[in-house]
Symmetry: none
Subunit: 259 residues, 2 copies
């Protein structure tokens, strides 16, 4: 879900571009092919308008018309989108560390980057659970709740404290909703070098995260572990936390030597 109340920006947006992208989004989200009329209704556009936009998208390679007279998204958007991830080829660097964490914990391992007041998972290793989609990646979580998020936040707290102040949405009874408590938590996080989420986003789901830094000190990503409470005891938590820290520091270290 997009972060509702943006400021009263209201900058003029090219309507053709906007409509075209909205169509593309709908097509991408849809599992079945869509017809012109159907899309027109759903997006509140004219049939002819929808038709032309669709034909443009086909021409540009982002959609294709299947069989006859229905449309679907191609993989082009996926391919283009992949390049944005590849350009921060963190994934490759972090993979071995993520595998290490997976081996010693058996839990879900995340690689996350900041995205406004959320984190987005750009890579993930599943724990052994029933699968829900081909691509576990791409998920979001609020930055003030989860381990990876809090690790990123701590590295840049002053920059986001204000924005966060009135947006500490509650998800569980453990969620930190007071800015004073968050201040304290961030301070602790910085001191210990990794972040702990005591079930602040999903009930009974704990997570731990540590920050990956660029050579210039910029916090670029976080690596983390997420696990159900019942799988954990104090000793295990301690072990996982230090492993997470080691993993993040290792990636940071690799980034230190270019080439």
């Amino acid at each position: 879900m997009p972060d509702s109340s943006n400021t009263n920006s209201a900058a003029r947006v090219d309507s053709t571009l906007s409509k075209g992208l909205r169509i593309l989004e709908v097509l991408a989200q849809s599992d079945r092919d869509r017809g012109v009329s159907e899309l027109a209704r759903e997006l509140d556009l004219t049939k002819s308008n929808t038709f032309r936009l669709l034909r443009s998208l086909c021409e540009l390679g982002y959609a294709e018309t299947t069989r006859d007279r229905t449309y679907k998204a191609t993989l082009k958007m996926w391919q283009v989108g992949l390049q944005t991830i590849d350009n921060l080829n963190l994934g490759e660097l972090a993979r071995p560390q993520m595998r290490m964490l997976s081996e010693i914990s058996g839990e879900a391992i995340y690689l996350a980057v900041q995205d406004g007041l959320n984190v987005t998972y750009i890579d993930k290793i599943e724990s052994t659970k029933p699968i829900r989609s081909f691509t576990p990646k791409g998920g979001n979580a609020p930055i003030h709740c989860v381990g990876t998020g809090k690790a990123l936040l701590a590295a840049n707290y002053s920059a986001y404290r204000e924005a966060l102040k009135d947006n500490l949405t509650r998800y569980t009874d453990k969620t930190i909703t007071s800015i004073r408590r968050l201040d304290q938590d961030m301070q602790d996080t910085i001191k210990r070098g990794f972040a702990i989420d005591h079930g602040e986003y999903r009930d009974q789901i704990l997570s731990f995260g540590a920050t990956i830094f660029l050579p210039n000190g910029e916090a670029i990503a976080a690596i983390g572990v997420s696990a159900p409470n019942i799988n954990l005891d104090q000793a295990r938590i301690k072990k996982i936390c230090s492993a997470v820290k080691v993993a993040a520091d290792s990636v940071t270290g690799q980034l230190q030597h270019p080439g």
Copy 2:
């Protein structure tokens, strides 16, 4: 606009949409942030035009202006693109191939995806023979034992070798439990292009699998055949194996389409 001796037939393409997407593509490909003028030059657009498009893309969440006055792609296109993968109904794409395999073999046909150190079957065609193998749709199997699993594993062996090393659970006396023998088997699998399970998971049940790849080379699924030993002889095995390979390659080919 003197440029664009734009190639072939050219159905009329909404130029705003086209320009916007081209900007997005350039941003996605670029590893560093881009300025307005730079982009304008590269795409042969007016500065003001580029600027407005860029602002629209920001407004729509596909780009963002970093620091000040330079632009970069966000992760939104990646996220939207991921949905096309999830909604790629692999099942539908692979169905004809699975039916083909069913017809020529009469055995159980599986479509499987990786899930940690297991495979999960997301589709299945039952055997038409009286003697049936008993893995139901939605079921799991260890990745190092079955045809589909070994096909997926081979495509990504280095990533899982370590984790698997001490988890080569024995299920039958044919199960590969030594990492050295698995190394060899994976090498053979890669060389021949499909995987063979000599009854390594269920006694007397053989299975064969080949990998389905995304355009970027990612192994996303595997297609396979499972059959009781007694139904098979060398010739028949050979025939089924090459059919499995053909089937998987065909699905991979269908995915290649865009770009």
